[in-house]
């Protein structure tokens, strides 16, 4: 998963070690996320975003984008059905 961690860190002049300590993970974890070897869990992504005071999508790129047509399909299929009583 693509992230802006390196840029966000550079803006604040933080090292990987400092960010790792702030988030409560190892330096290996920060390095692995920055080099796209591992994707963080939602919880870790939120934690990182909070540390940088940005939203998750400002820190991480949504690899699926926002697909309105898919969303419409889901909404159309999940419309409540009327059930006749009596």
């Amino acid at each position: 998963m693509k992230s802006r961690l390196r840029v966000l860190r550079a803006e604040r002049d933080w090292t990987q070690e400092e960010l790792a300590q702030a988030v409560g993970v190892s330096r290996y974890a920060i390095n692995a996320i920055e080099t796209e070897r591992h994707a963080p869990s939602l919880d870790l992504a939120f934690k990182i975003a909070s540390i940088f005071e940005v939203t998750v999508e400002e820190a991480f790129t949504n690899p699926y984008g926002i697909d309105a047509s898919r969303s419409e399909v889901i909404h159309a299929s999940s419309k409540p059905k009327l059930i006749a009583k009596g």
Binding site: S26, Y28, A29, S41
Partner: protein
Amino acid sequence: MKLGWPNSWRYTLFSVGLWLVFLVALLTIEFALARDWPAHIRFGLACVPFITVVLQFRLSWATLMAQDEIVRGAHTERFFIAAATTLIVAIAYSTMPRAVGAPELPIWIVYPLFWGVLGVVATLRDRADS
């Protein structure tokens, strides 16, 4: 970046201790057989290696669970590859003594083999990551 095993003095200390007990128990079993020690003592000695293995994996599990999700995930992947490789080698060899007269090996050899394979897998993965 090298992953490395978590730096824990507790883990290192207990692991070295467990390995020593494991090896001493194996040697003592041979000694007990040569000296014809009573069966119940030999049975007790025979149980020691597997108890150390249980404790070692329990310790490894506790150490892994104390790590962050990414370190845990990376180690789990290495453990899986090492376990699969060890099983494949062990199963492949297991039919050889009967089929082609290869020397019989004790089953406990699988345990050090697993850790040896894990060391190789970890080194290769570290090289690939860096």
